[in-house]
């Protein structure tokens, strides 16, 4: 484990690297870093999927990862809570600092990491259990000691789902609509009270209405959580995120405040991608 200074100045070291990581005055967030990826490489067997990306994730902000299909967005995201460990044939290099610890250091239990850094997936994947148990299960296995009913209610409220399900907590989570299921999955993650929530295209399987609800929810959640979201939908990244990183063939092209990326990016590649002129 490496003791690293985790400050707003941290990204300085990247300034020398090619991708331009600009730092501006913060509008939201606390100004601290929640996670700090440092020169991360990921290989699938021999395929080099993520090529030395350094990406500071700011606390209580929404960071969006965008880029063309297959550029490594999901792979990078899954590094942040060691979900890649589940995939066979993956090799990861570099460090990801979380509270001054490298989560890839020897002796770190990925299960413990995932408990602090929750994840929401592309397709809503509630457990085939009751709504109540969907929320309670994660807390239970993590040895939650408080009042479970309260936790379930609180999590569902935070996920803006309580009013819709409070009368049918014992119904199966699968009986909900797609958008509700996704919010249930978010509630489930909130119930283990993580610091960071990773979301891999959380709205792409949903219709526009359900999708905008998730967006609104993300905006609500960033008051308390740090969110990293992968999205195919550039406009979605524009709408919700505070910072945006553009990946291309496993490399970081540009990382900056979202409004800069979308109004005045510094890289031509970003400009082309943003304006829909990706050839």
């Amino acid at each position: 484990m490496v003791a690293n200074t985790m400050t707003t100045e941290a990204p300085q070291r990247i300034a020398t690297a090619k991708p331009v990581v600009a730092e501006r005055t913060e509008k939201t967030g606390t100004g601290r870093l929640a996670l700090d990826a440092q020169d991360v490489h990921v290989y699938y067997d021999t395929f080099h999927a993520v090529k030395g990306i350094s990406l500071p994730i700011h606390e209580k902000e929404i960071t969006a990862l965008i880029g063309p299909s297959g550029c490594g967005k999901s792979t990078l995201l899954r590094c942040f809570n060691r979900m890649n460990d589940v995939v066979s044939g993956v090799r990861i290099e570099g460090q990801i600092l979380y509270k001054n610890q490298d989560i890839y250091a020897a002796g770190v239990d990925p299960v413990a990491v995932r408990r602090r850094i929750g994840m929401v997936f592309q397709k809503p994947n509630p457990f085939p259990k009751s709504i109540y148990n969907n929320v309670a299960w994660g807390a239970k296995i993590n040895g939650y000691k408080g009042n479970m009913d309260e936790l379930v209610e609180k999590s569902l409220r935070q996920a803006a789902l309580w009013d819709e399900v409070k009368d049918k907590l014992q119904q199966s989570g699968l009986s909900l609509s797609g958008g509700q299921q996704q919010r249930l999955c978010i509630a489930r993650t909130l119930a283990i009270q993580p610091d960071v929530i990773l979301m891999d295209e959380p709205a792409s399987a949903l219709d526009p209405i359900a999708s905008s609800k998730i967006e609104e929810l993300m905006l609500e959640l960033k008051k308390d959580y740090t969110i990293v979201v992968v999205t195919h939908n550039m406009q979605q990244a524009a709408r919700v995120s505070d910072r945006t990183a553009l990946l291309w063939l496993g490399e970081l092209v540009e990382y900056d405040e979202t409004q800069t990326i979308f109004t005045n990016p510094s890289q031509q590649k970003t400009e082309d991608y943003i304006t829909g002129r990706h050839g």
Partner: protein, 324 residues
């Protein structure tokens, strides 16, 4: 790195990320691994058993490998061990079975997957599954008590023996039919609806869609069904044991073996499996040549079915790749 004053005040409490003891998890994994290994042991045992006894068999003074493969008579009592009569019978019953099951099975599969209404399907499918679930000894009974009399009625009692390969083969065909139709139907239904829609969208009729788009797309699955069916026919025991005959149809020469009479479906013959079943009934002595001879036949059987299985699996794998 220098410690800046603002440094990470958020780390109020350093979280414990270290490993929890997970000995339980390892023990479970170990036990499950042992379960997986059992199948390997099974195969090894089969091979060892077959090869060891076959080795004893071929080591015996009465038997030569050459005769085993080139002889046309299997008569242990007089020390004649040419396997051809048994293989010949196996080929005949299997061939008859495939002749029945393949066209019927595939037609039924196409009907069920492409034409039948959901309701009709929901009725017919389970019925076919019943057919598949009937024990083979019952088919044997049926061959003996129904099919043979029927054949004898049609072709005359003189032409058709009480035990004959034809009757066994036909009934075996119906036994395999549900398997072929079910695997083929699965293959046909695995063809995504989007392909059918594509064909309809181009102005194809239902028949053209079924036969020229869906069927070719499912062809490797259907091939696999065919080969699995064949393998099943070759290994099938009880039908032939009951209905095909209780003694090898021996030939004096290869010429006779390949004459029309050699492939007469109305005469009795004993297949490899039938022979094993018959010999192993009763208290045979473990030391006898009879005992080891059936293991040599078993080895042949094992090799044949193994090859068929390997072929079918590679066909199926090709199918899988195609859609992924």
């Amino acid at each position: 790195m220098s410690q800046t004053p603002q440094s990470n005040t958020s780390s109020d409490v350093l979280p414990d990320l270290s490993s929890r003891a997970s000995i339980g998890e390892s023990i479970i994994a170990g036990i499950l691994f042992l379960c997986g290994i059992i199948s390997i042991l099974t195969t090894i045992s089969i091979v060892v058993v077959l090869v060891r006894e076959a080795y004893l068999f071929f080591g015996a003074s009465e038997v030569t490998l050459r005769e085993f493969f080139t002889g046309t008579t299997w008569q242990p009592a007089i020390g004649r061990f040419g396997i051809w009569p048994l293989i010949n019978a196996t080929l005949m019953t299997s061939f008859a079975a495939m002749l029945v099951s393949l066209p019927l099975g595939i037609s039924a599969a196409i009907y069920l997957s492409e034409y039948a209404s959901e309701r009709a399907r929901s009725i017919i499918k389970p019925i076919l599954e019943i057919l598949a679930g009937i024990p083979t000894v019952v088919y044997g009974y049926f061959a003996l008590t129904f099919m043979t009399p029927l054949l004898r009625n049609i072709f005359g009692t003189d032409t058709v023996d009480i035990f004959n390969t034809g009757s066994a083969g036909i009934v075996m065909g119906f036994m395999i039919l549900p398997m072929i139709s079910s695997i083929s139907e699965d293959a046909l239904r695995a063809v995504p609806d989007s392909l059918r829609n594509a064909a309809y969208g181009l102005g194809a009729t239902k028949f053209e869609t079924a036969v020229r788009v869906v069927f070719p797309a499912a062809l490797s699955g259907i091939m696999a069904a065919f080969i699995l069916g064949l393998s099943r026919a070759v290994g099938e025991t009880m039908i032939v044991a009951v209905a095909a005959g209780a003694g090898p149809r021996n030939f004096d020469s290869w010429g006779e073996a390949f004459s029309a009479e050699g492939f007469n479906f109305f005469k009795a013959a004993e297949t490899m499996t039938g022979h094993i079943a018959r010999i192993s009934q009763g208290d045979i002595s473990y030391a006898s040549l009879d005992y080891s001879s059936i293991f040599s036949i078993g080895l042949m059987l094992f090799i044949i079915t193994l090859i068929l299985n390997i072929i079918s699996r590679s066909v199926v794998n090709r199918l899988r790749e195609q859609y992924e």
